[in-house]
Amino acid sequence: MKTEYIEKIKNAFNDLPEHWLLLFVLNAEDYLEKNIAILNEVLQQDDAVGVYVTLNRPYSVLIKILEKNNINTDKLFFIDCITKTIEPEKEEKKCLFLENPQNLTNITIAINESMSAIPSKNKSLFVDSMSTLLIYNKVETVSKFLHFLTGEIRVLNLNGILLSTEKELDPEFADQLEQFVDKIVDLSK
């Protein structure tokens, strides 16, 4: 089972434009496992670096999980939209803490600023996850935000990985989202 989805992830990166944008649809049960496999695949190249926007797990928890799974977190800069909703943030060199997942404007500002600060031509943005945005924002607002964000990704010549839970959970939103990306990789089955 694991080898199956690993193979699917590897194949997802074939036949893509120079700067690509992918949507991975995952199921809730093995979301984390597959997320790590995707990260692993993207960060393999020597010059690959990324900005990881976490809406699901606080930075302090996420960094431990990633390091435990041998992800080179030195290649990642984090934007944590969740910690401040629970507790005051601690100063972290590799992480920017935002007030809450509702403020989509601040999220895009943070992404812009982080991306400008990273000196590499092979930069990727990870957004974990699209579905969580919907808990805090209306569908229309998130659709606009994602349309804008995907435009930014293209204009800034970045790569993008958007993670989402199973399509059935947010059908209308998923239909809109599908149009913005180069490829949809369904790992939920």
């Binding site: 434009p17 435009g151 204009v155 209308e172």
Partner: protein
């Protein structure tokens, strides 16, 4: 592949994967015809790069890019692309389309991809009025229209405008 020349206006509703193939097929088929191409999912630079990779000629196309300026990017001006501020600037889009139609004698085409994104930025009735105005401009100028869209669940907009078109192709999985 639908026989484009048989119809004045065509609405194609498909899943996203098929839609991407269809729009490229349409551009290939219309390679020698003047086209105004409005793509609401991709920037001009990214789009042209993909089209050239697929071996398509682009000198017959006037691209309308509604994304680059939306992100605040001041990409340099190029001959065959018009940058519109954002997808809710339907007035500018309409002006661009009608001016294009009037500037070219004979057969010309409007290809609009992906229509459903207009709903993110505009109310339904505004979008419908916009479509109506495109049809008015097209019929006055002997222009042909192809609109491509994916079907968004719980969205009635496609159904409300389908009757405008001479041919409707709905192939959803």
């Amino acid at each position: 592949m639908i026989e484009l020349n048989n119809y004045e206006s065509i609405l194609i509703v498909e899943d996203v994967k098929s839609l991407r193939v269809t729009v490229n097929d349409i551009l290939k088929t219309l390679q020698d015809k003047p086209i105004i191409y409005i793509n609401l999912t991709n920037t001009y630079n990214s789009l042209v790069s993909n089209l050239k990779k697929d071996g398509l000629k682009i000198n017959n196309i006037l691209f309308i890019d509604c994304i680059t300026r939306l992100t605040g990017d001041s990409a340099s001006d190029q001959e065959n692309v018009l940058f519109i501020k954002e997808p809710n600037d339907l007035t500018s889009l309409e002006i661009a389309i009608s001016e294009f139609f009037e500037s070219i004698p004979g057969e010309k085409w409007l290809v609009l991809y992906a229509f459903s994104i207009l709903k993110i930025y505009n109310k339904e009735d505004i979008v419908l009025r916009f479509i109506q105005s495109i049809f008015e401009n097209a019929s006055a100028s002997n222009a042909k229209i192809v609109i491509l869209s994916t079907q968004i669940k719980n969205d009635s907009l496609i159904k409300k405008m389908a009757h405008f078109f001479e041919k409707v192709v709905m192939e959803m999985e």
